[in-house]
């Protein structure tokens, strides 16, 4: 990492031609991966990420560059090259830099580096055994742990330096079940911005293995999902990916500030059913998507995006905030120094309602119960989205009946929010990776069980009868 004196020189070099803001982001991260395939460790790797990004801003223009050469000369060369994009005179000079401190919301009890790799292997193998023992039809298992420790420093022309360290770990258990010509899969992958204590204290890996295996076995007997418009009850936890894709992305300032989002200019308007309150919270202690500070050095926040159906806020970074005449609210993120940071989600969820989940099922005469979703995508300009169900059942006369496979849900983000007609009281969060302009970042999605009065279900099983 570089000294404050070097940082001042580099920032001033970048500001020479009239940029009104300059920033240096330096990152050093060690990541480890261990993969077990059919009970044997097949692969293990150590990866070091190392480099710096320099960003210069002038009003609505941004210039970004990155390099592995973080020597004084390397950074000065990059800053000068970037400054050639502007042609004005110096407006800002940095004379001193003060280190700003933040509360550590991602404390670590057992750093991963303090644990022998064999211990991770033994831990994962308990999950592997649980999957293998579950049913003879489980014909392949894989287990993986990935963990990382990242040190980063941000210097900017507001005279601020921020040092941050964060540790994250995630495991993934996956299995393949086979019967005749049919092949199905099961999957579970919890993680946290914490040390190994998260897995030791909070994750029952045997139960997790059973859960993954049960999903694969169940899907073997599932019939093709019927298609058409129908009421859909979406299970808690990863079901929240629907809100993430259909509504979270269009609430990011990168789209909103340029009037490219269906939710641009809608603050204060009723955009969802009054039952919906949605929150993005980067401050949840040890949350998978939490950060002590965001990637432009702002404190992360708990932001209420929708309150009782009314749009109350967006996810804003300082740069896109310029077009909106708003300050960033701690939502600026990036995968690494190789990406220019921008507005992104952290831990995003629909808040609890009051209805017990059983009552939601009971109140549904004929429809789909999408217990678990696999992921999806959205076009932010049109709001059109799609999601695949990884575990789904038909609801008949208020009861969960036969499992179905190959179901996908499609619709319009703005319509779906208004069609949520029941919200449960069993909020749960799940972990995922979100890919967008500034790379792949860890995020939590979440929701209680909820019902959408009508949505298009795609499948190969004909009409729902």
């Amino acid at each position: 990492m570089i000294s404050k004196k070097v940082a001042i020189d580099v920032l001033n070099a970048g500001l020479e031609t009239g940029a009104d803001f300059a920033e240096i982001y330096i990152e050093e991260k060690i990541s480890n991966v261990i993969q077990i395939d059919n009970g044997k460790v097949e692969n293990s790797s150590i990866i070091k990420t190392y480099g710096a990004g320099i960003r210069l801003l002038k009003k609505f223009r941004s210039v970004y560059g990155y390099t592995n050469d973080i020597s004084k000369n390397g950074l000065l060369k990059l800053a000068k090259s970037l400054s050639n994009s502007f042609t004005g005179n110096r407006e800002v000079t940095v004379t001193s830099i003060k280190t700003k401190k933040f509360k550590n919301i991602t404390p670590v009890e057992i750093p991963y580096e303090s644990v022998e790799k064999e211990e991770f292997v033994n831990y994962l193998k308990k999950g592997v055994k649980a999957m293998q023992d579950y049913d003879k039809r489980i014909i392949r298992t894989t287990a993986m742990i990935s963990y990382s420790h990242k040190d980063s420093t941000i210097f900017n022309s507001n005279g601020i330096a921020i040092n941050d360290s964060i540790e994250r770990g995630r495991i993934a258990l996956q299995c393949v079940a086979n019967e005749g010509e049919k092949i199905e899969t099961g999957y579970a992958a919890p993680g946290a911005a914490a040390g190994f204590e998260f897995f030791k204290n909070k994750v029952d890996i045997v139960e997790l293995g059973k859960k993954a295996a049960a999903q694969a076995i169940l899907m073997l007997s599932a019939k093709e999902c019927p298609s058409g418009k129908m009421p859909v009850v979406i299970g808690n936890g990863f079901g929240g990916v629907l809100f993430h894709e259909a509504c979270g992305h269009p609430l990011e300032a990168s789209a909103v500030s340029k009037n490219l989002s269906v939710f641009s200019g809608k603050l204060g308007e009723q955009i969802a059913s009054p039952l919906v309150t949605a929150i993005d919270d980067g401050t949840i202690e040890n949350g998978w998507g939490s950060n002590n500070v965001d990637d432009e050095g702002n404190k992360t926040e708990r932001t209420v995006l929708i309150k009782n159906g009314i749009l109350t806020n967006y996810l804003i970074d300082d740069f896109n905030g310029r077009r909106m005449e708003r300050k960033g609210n701690g939502a600026c993120r990036r995968q690494s120094y190789r990406y220019e940071p921008t507005s992104r989600m952290s831990n995003t969820y629909i808040d609890n309602g009051t209805t017990p989940p059983e009552e939601i099922i009971k109140a549904t005469k004929l429809g789909l119960y999408a217990k678990s979703l696999g992921g999806g995508s959205v076009n932010p300009a049109t709001g059109e989205f799609n999601f695949a169900c990884s575990e789904a059942y038909i609801i008949r006369d208020g009861k969960v009946c036969e499992p179905v496979r190959g179901a996908s849900l499609i619709g319009q983000g703005k319509d779906i929010l208004t069609k949520i007609d029941m919200v449960g009281n069993d909020l749960e969060r799940s972990q995922g990776m979100c890919g967008a302009a500034s790379g792949q970042i860890p995020v939590d999605v979440g929701q209680p069980t909820l019902r959408i009065s009508e949505i298009t279900v795609g499948g190969n099983g004909g009409e729902l009868k």
Partner: protein
Amino acid sequence: MRLNEKKFFELAKANGFEAADLCYSHSISTSVSIFHSEIDSYTEHETISLDARGIIDGKFGSASTEQIDKNTPQFLVDSIKKTAKIIEKEEQGIIFKGSKKYHKKNLYNKAVAEMKASDAINTCLEIEKKLYSYDKRINEVVTVGYENEASDSFLSNTYGLKLKSKEIAYTFYAEVTAKVGDEIRTGFKVFVSQDPNEFKVDEFVKEVAEDALKKLGSVQCKSKKYPVVFNPETSSILLKFFLGPIDYEEVKKQSSYFIGKLNTQVASKKLTVIENGLAKNIFFKYFDDEGVAIEKKNILKKGVLETYLYTLENAKEAGVEPTGNSEVAGGKSHAKLNQLFVKPGRKSEEEIFSKIKEGVYITDLQGLHAGMNQRSGNFSLQSAGFMIRDGKLAEPLALITVADNLLNLFNNIKEVANNSKLIIQTATTCPSIYFKKISVTGK
């Protein structure tokens, strides 16, 4: 900065490594995007990375770094030792001594490196202006961008193998929205080339604008089974997923629907797919990540599966030659298809449409990472396209899904068209494909 590979190899040997390899990758790029006649973002980068593997007691260890200094060889050797220690695989790791012959070609075009960023910015501004004036219904040019990227890599190992490659290409891309009333549709195109003279602004503007305009007035079709024609882009996507499980790793671990299907009919006789990584375009490659020479080969001949894909280790296990398909990521090798060519049929798209009374033409597939189950082959995907009525394209369709199983689908090909084109997204040269009946869900 370059790491002297000799120092790493010497240290590896001194630490008891039986063999080691090192892949050095270097890339440099400039990119720019325009919004409302202003430069919205400008990015330049120069980065290196080193990926090293070593064999100790027959076990592979692996490490990567982006930091190159005097401590790098020690970091790599220590990390490889730590990671190799826990490997339990019975098969011995293999570092490759080399293929007999390599089909090396130099496709690096200096003229691309000499393209000036200032000229590219002017081109982007021109594109934006022309897009706005193309049609009143184009209400927003979301972005226009340019990127110029050069990369070079050097793979070497303790057996003296040394393989180099150097590439360069430039890209223009643009996205627009078209609006009528409350309906908004997006249009997007990417153009990639190794020849600065190939890019034609007016053609590009037309493609981007028409991509959005032709979708206006989209409706949902009635849910039922239709004969479906997939355009070259979407056909190539489905084909790439279909053939994914021919990696022998998946076959030997019972996770592929191609188990026991070698030299048998796995698809319609109308489908012939050739892999040719040596074709002279942006996807040219003459060696894989393990250093094995890439050759042209048949994958499917008249629907018969002619080969699985083998990494070095899987080839040894199966007693066959490696196929030049290895990709090493995080130390692990797996086999991945090089660029593909689908043998075109005789009929044009229009001739194919002319035989369909009521059908669907698919031009867009979304949500592939979740809606496509590559192990089972089942898919249910958000799609868009057009109705085919009485032999002709009719109203545009949006928010529909297509659902089927890949094995079933590719056994039900009615016709392969003759409109082959190189699809960047899938590195496949593919025509439209007409399939018998597929479930389409709309209203």
